[in-house]
């Protein structure tokens, strides 16, 4: 019996061992058509895998985009919060110029230039707002001056050129030379601007007079021809002192003002003559497609020049005397109009300059070789520049008329006529072409000496703001 059981188990084991695996499945009851992977089923699986992968890729892309936005937001938030710590921006121009010589020898020596390239302005602004109520702004102009400028006339009549060439002693080449340039401080001010209606500015600021002196930069000016009242220094371009300014909106208009007290027309950087200058400006303007500004400016600038003299008293002690040698008052009044409408731009200023000397304290006439003295004077300058921009081209015309009273020895009227074309390659990159013809007149001038000073200037420049 026991033997029979063992035999039965053994036969069963052998039977199971020889039956193939597929037969086992068959015995389990599954059909071959349902279980076997077909091409279609495999394709479906691949499609599902592709879809899952695409979803995963899209999810990762979305996550990356999300993270990038978050990073950008964090970056921009930090930049916005610290935006006003220090910003550096500016403008520059580079050009080519030719001045055709006048016949008058004295003027020719001053104004004649051959066709020459030049580096005009490279002005950098340093703008910081360390506190919401305070703003610091400095503007510097980097120049190659005084290299190449006229340094006067020698005793033999030769015009002397300034040279700043020095040996480059830090160079391994012993014969190397460099020419040094200079930095002009255009302005350096600290503003307290808690209230738009009442802000205070201290430091070296551009004189808030008229249009041109504040616009002052080649990207903003229509024409680079300097108005006579500025070229003749009827106002100082910049002053060292304090300015109160503000504006009040009366939509769409804005009413603004500026009041200044400064060292004025002093020699050097200190008010050595104790003659403060007082100025003011009042304007009303509107912004928009029609921008309009009407303004009036005033600057009262007394000027005193003292002669300091050391000497020896009768008892042998040292003496120090101060003698006033020049004393005058200067008053500059101006009105200005600025219009921008679509492509049209108009800038115009009318300026009057009056100088009165104290008796016996007149200055020596700068251009009088006979040793005469400056007279009291009342001069008037009026200029207008009109431009119209079509597409990227802005042609313009200008006129600058100056009447001098009393009649100077060489002229009583100066008239500058000119025109040009501004080509806007980009909004901040401009090619400027400028021509100006200066004419001089004098009444009762049988020899026509005034017109001998006439000259022409051609300027082409590339301007960019950054």
């Amino acid at each position: 019996m026991r033997l029979a059981c063992v035999a039965a188990w053994a036969s069963t084991f052998l039977l199971l061992a020889v039956v193939p695996a597929g037969a086992q499945d068959t015995t389990a009851g599954a059909t071959p058509a349902e279980a076997a992977p077909t091409i279609e089923s495999l394709r479906a699986e691949i499609r599902e895998a592709d879809a899952r992968q695409a979803q995963e890729i899209q999810r990762l892309k979305d996550e990356i985009a999300q993270r990038e936005v978050e990073a950008s937001v964090a970056h921009e938030r930090e930049a916005a919060e610290h935006e006003r710590l220090l910003r550096v921006y500016g403008f520059a121009d580079f050009g080519i110029m030719r001045t055709i010589a006048p016949k008058d020898a004295m003027v020719a020596s001053e104004f004649t230039t051959p066709l020459t390239f030049y580096l005009g302005r490279l002005n950098l602004y340093y703008d910081a707002r360390p506190d919401p109520d305070f703003r610091f702004l400095a503007e510097t102009r980097l120049t190659l001056y005084p290299n190449g400028t006229s340094a006067g006339v020698s005793s033999t009549g030769q015009v002397i050129q300034t040279s700043t060439a020095v040996g480059d002693i830090s160079s391994p080449n012993a014969s190397a030379t460099v020419t040094w340039g200079s930095i002009i401080l255009e302005r350096a001010v600290l503003d307290w601007s808690r209230y738009p209606l009442f802000s205070v500015r201290a430091g070296l600021f551009l004189t808030p007079f008229g249009i041109y002196n504040v616009d002052h930069g080649s990207p903003t000016l229509i024409s680079m021809t300097l108005p006579s009242y500025l070229s003749q220094n009827w106002i100082p371009a910049r002053q060292l002192g304090v300015q109160i300014f503000g504006s009040y909106p009366i939509a769409p208009w804005e009413l603004g003002y500026a009041l200044t007290v400064s060292n004025g027309a002093s020699d050097g950087i200190l008010d050595l003559g104790d003659s403060k200058a007082y100025g003011g400006r009042l304007f009303i303007r509107r912004q928009g497609e029609l921008s309009l500004t009407l303004g009036g400016s005033l600057l009262y600038q007394p000027y005193r020049q003292d002669k300091d003299q050391f000497g020896m008293a009768a008892d042998g002690s040292l003496t120090y005397t101060v003698t006033r040698v020049v004393e005058r008052t200067g008053l500059t009044l101006g009105g200005d109009l600025s219009v921008d409408f679509r492509g049209f731009r108009l800038r115009s200023e009318l300026v009057m300059y009056q100088v009165n000397y104290t008796a016996g304290k007149r200055a020596l006439a700068a251009q009088d070789i006979n040793g005469g003295y400056e007279p009291d004077m009342r001069n008037v300058n009026w200029y207008v520049v009109a431009a119209y921009r079509v597409w990227r081209l802005e042609p313009y015309l200008l006129s600058d008329l100056t009447k001098v009273s009393p009649v100077q020895a060489t002229l009583d009227t100066a008239w500058g006529l000119g025109g040009g074309l501004n080509v806007y390659l980009r909004s901040n990159v401009i090619v400027k072409l400028n021509w100006a013809h200066a004419m001089f007149f004098k009444q009762n001038d049988p020899n026509d000496t005034a017109s001998r000073q006439n000259f022409d200037t051609f300027v082409g420049m590339l301007v960019w703001a950054f």
Partner: protein, 175 residues
């Protein structure tokens, strides 16, 4: 060369001359148009976007009109009513949203706007509001930046910001 073989200029038929003249005109016109496209940066004729002007939720303002927006975005108004500083955020020049905002709120074309900010920069006035590269970033940034104000396409506004004005059909309207 035999003189008899010399080519004699044949009279050009009138039709050929007309075709030649037309071809020159087509060529010249094509060159001019190509120059215009290159210099002009292409012409676009897109519908102006609908914009929402949004502020940080802590800003003490619920609605702002066109004049107030203009004053803020020209930096004439620099602080909110509670004295906190205003942080205006712009979109970059050249975007449709910036062009629409400048046109409707500041009443300036893109060229005029560019010149306006360059002039202010040269004169030493307050510079232009900070330009953020994308409207998405503006929409996300404003809820996190105290005192901020900006504008985005209306469909990008979320609940974290407060809408104080909308710019639609060339007008500033209440939110």
């Amino acid at each position: 060369m035999n003189p008899s073989q010399r080519e004699v200029p044949r009279p050009v038929p009138a039709a050929t001359r007309r075709r030649s003249t037309r071809a020159r005109w087509v060529l010249a016109t094509s060159i001019v148009l190509a120059l215009l496209a290159v210099l002009g940066g292409g012409l676009r004729a897109e519908a102006p976007p609908v914009l929402a002007v949004i502020v940080h939720p802590g800003v003490p303002a619920t609605t702002l009109g066109a004049a107030e927006l203009a004053s803020i975005f020209t930096r004439a108004t620099r602080s909110w009513k509670d004295g906190s500083p205003i942080r205006p955020l712009n979109l970059p020049p050249g975007t449709p949203e910036r062009a629409e905002f400048d046109r409707v709120v500041l009443n300036m074309s893109p060229d005029r706007s560019a010149q306006y900010w360059i002039d202010r920069q040269v004169r030493g006035d307050e510079p232009a509001p900070k330009a953020i590269a994308k409207a998405d970033i503006v929409a996300r940034l404003i809820p996190t930046l105290t005192g901020s104000i900006g504008y985005v396409p209306a469909d990008k506004v979320d609940a974290k910001s407060r809408v104080v004005a909308r710019i639609r059909d060339g007008k500033v309207v209440a939110p």
